[in-house]
């Protein structure tokens, strides 16, 4: 009964489409899989280890599915059992699958190696997991340690060179493995919400929004319009602050002092608006299950309305300064080219994907937020070099300003939170995977819940895919461009500690 109502509220062509694909897969794979069901946005398939090869072969080679992009692999504990979750995606048919594999307690290491070896036959991106942890320090030419620039500070880089061109590059994230296994086990839900914004500290609101929306879907709760508008407003503000910080990082590397100072100044302006809404600059702790913590007062609205034109003018000015400098343009053009096929294969998302010419934005695809009522365009680049990645982000900021303008012009009245019992919520016991478009790409959460607590939680940020990709694209570039290319991928260290 509850299921029926639930599907009616959220019924859309998307869920029907996913269920159709699920049926098709079921009829083809039959006895090779245990079960297949829909978990939020994805299809969840439980496979035993012996059948994995045939299942992936079927998924990849069948023209009906064409699962050609590798997203992530992660370990998950539920009670005493240990699972591996493999996330694969098909861009042609636009759906993604989660393969869940149980591995035995005793041979965790051996099983993991075996599965990685097997996956490497299908997907090139798995190469990273094969060598990770075992660097080639003894035979590398140049070893680059973490630098003090934000985003380049959480990994080591080993480089083999040919005169001044890079031949091969290897990334190691050994110093970034700091997360304990079950930090979320004895945390209450309100404390988990306060913690989780550290997983993406360049734009702290997105993990919170993602977690709360996933839990709302489990509780079958619909948020009021005013709360959704407040959430959208904060998301766009954080998107601007993240992109402008990215620009300042690039200017820092290129030693362009004027644009560096101007962009940091604008960042302060945006953070000030954010602070007056949420109460903190970096870690908001503002989203609650069923709404938001506080209402937005009329004063703040006026101050946002006043500072929008100033922001618009100043961002345009920074763009003009940067694009008017032909030395800078020449340096950026042609460095670190990502072609379409490679970007798809490595599972990159967000502005990095759009810069190489693919129009894909979750804000337009998914209809849980109210983005479908607003008019905005998705900027795309052409060739996918550093210049494109920067100009896509500039255009995205201007589009975000346009969205904010539309949001504050039609701010609906009403409640900003639905009161529920926060300390003892009752979940529908199932698993769910939920995604949201954060400034770096597709931010994903996978969680399993039983009646009143969360059993297991996986957080997966998009920066990790960009980092894997950097191994591929650094080859063939000059050594002095290494910092520039890595910074232009907009890596957020918080997402790397979480994988």
């Amino acid at each position: 009964m509850a299921d029926n109502i639930y599907n009616k509220i959220y019924s859309s062509s998307r869920t029907v489409f996913l269920e159709e694909i699920g049926e098709k897969l079921k009829s083809i794979l039959k006895d090779k899989i245990e079960y297949i069901r829909r978990a939020g946005l994805d299809l969840l398939i439980l496979v035993s280890k012996n059948n994995l090869y045939q299942v992936i072969k079927e998924l990849k080679d069948n023209p009906d599915f064409k699962v050609n992009s590798f997203q992530s692999i992660a370990a998950l504990t539920n009670g005493k059992k240990i699972y591996l979750i493999i996330n694969l995606k098909s861009f042609d048919n636009d759906f993604s699958v989660l393969l869940k594999i149980e591995i035995s307690q005793r041979e965790i290491e051996g099983d993991y190696r075996e599965i990685i070896e097997m996956l490497a036959k299908f997907y090139r991106a798995v190469k990273f997991y094969k060598h990770s942890g075992r660097l080639i320090s003894d035979r590398c030419d140049i070893k680059i340690l973490p630098r003090s620039i934000e985003g380049l500070d959480c990994f080591d880089l080993d480089i083999l060179v040919d005169n001044d061109l890079i031949r091969e590059a290897y990334v190691s994230i050994e110093i970034a493995r700091i997360i304990g296994d079950d930090y979320y086990k004895d945390l209450k839900l309100y404390n988990l919400i306060a913690y989780i914004s550290r997983f993406d500290w360049k734009a702290g609101i997105f993990p919170e929004v993602c977690l709360c929306e996933a839990l709302e879907e489990l509780l079958q709760l619909k948020v009021t319009e005013r709360a959704q508008h407040i959430r959208m407003l904060l998301c766009e503000l954080y998107r601007i602050s993240n992109h402008i910080y990215f620009i300042s990082n690039i200017c820092n590397i290129l030693q362009h002092d004027i644009a560096y100072n101007l962009s940091l100044l604008e960042r302060e302006r945006v953070l000030r608006i954010i602070e007056s809404i949420t109460g903190s600059r970096i870690v908001p702790n503002f989203i609650r299950i069923g709404g938001v913590k506080k209402d937005i007062s009329e004063e703040i609205m006026v101050s946002i309305r006043k500072s929008l034109p100033v922001l618009f003018r100043n961002i345009r000015r920074i763009e003009k300064i940067m694009t008017g400098d032909f030395l800078l343009i020449e340096r950026l053009r042609g460095a670190g080219i990502i072609s379409k096929e490679i970007a798809l294969e490595y599972g990159v998302s967000g502005p990095n994907l759009r810069a190489s010419g693919i129009r894909h934005d979750l804000r337009k695809v998914k209809d849980s937020f109210l983005y479908k009522d607003l008019s905005f365009t998705i900027p795309v680049g052409k060739s996918g070099d550093c210049l494109d990645r920067i100009s896509v982000r500039f255009n995205e900021m201007l589009q975000s300003l346009r969205i904010i303008n539309q949001i504050i012009n039609k701010f609906p009245e009403g409640d900003f939170i639905k009161k529920i019992n926060v300390s003892h919520p009752e979940f529908k016991s199932s698993e769910i995977s939920y995604g949201i478009e954060c400034p770096h790409g597709l931010f994903k959460i996978y969680l399993e819940a039983d009646k009143n607590n969360i059993n297991s939680l996986l957080v997966k940020g998009p920066s990790f895919n960009s980092l894997i990709l950097s191994e591929e694209i650094l080859a063939g570039n000059k050594i002095e461009d290494v910092d520039l290319i890595l910074a232009s991928l907009d890596i957020s260290p918080g997402e790397i500690i979480s994988s």
Partner: protein, 140 residues
């Protein structure tokens, strides 16, 4: 030539512009309303007593375990706060304790200038938490 004249006017305009920089120790940024700083124990303005009764809910809520509360029974069965200690080195300024307090007895002040040579000084006692945070807001 045209560009030169244009640049001249830009420079000329900038001479009379107010500088962006805040000369920090002398001028200060206004902290917006509702920003989260150090905890502050509210005082009843009429009777000048601390509102907090020492129920200990915030101690349970806090994930870092930085609050210690003790209550003491006075005559006629009235319960008053005996001890309230905040360890600043553990606090992450999440604001959950304020949100959950049933008596509305605590709030977050605007105090943000915190740095100590000795870690022991970061433990704040009741007498310090009651003080209103010095200069609450300075204007510039």
């Amino acid at each position: 030539m045209l560009r030169l004249i244009k640049n001249f006017f830009i420079v000329f305009g900038n001479i009379f512009r107010k500088p962006h920089t805040i000369i920090y120790p002398r001028e200060r940024i206004i902290i917006p309303d509702g920003s989260r700083g150090v905890l502050h124990l509210k005082v009843d303005p009429d009777s000048l007593e601390i509102i907090c009764k020492g129920c200990g809910l915030c101690k349970i809520i806090c994930s870092q375990g930085c609050i210690t509360v003790q209550k003491r029974a006075e005559d006629k069965g009235r319960e008053v706060l005996d001890e309230f200690c905040l360890d600043l080195s553990k606090c992450i300024f999440c604001g959950n304790c304020v949100e959950f307090c049933k008596m509305n007895a605590i709030d977050m002040s605007y105090k943000y200038q915190l740095a100590e040579f000795d870690k022991k000084n970061l433990k704040l006692e009741k007498t310090e938490l009651v003080k209103p945070s010095g200069t609450i807001r300075d204007f510039w």
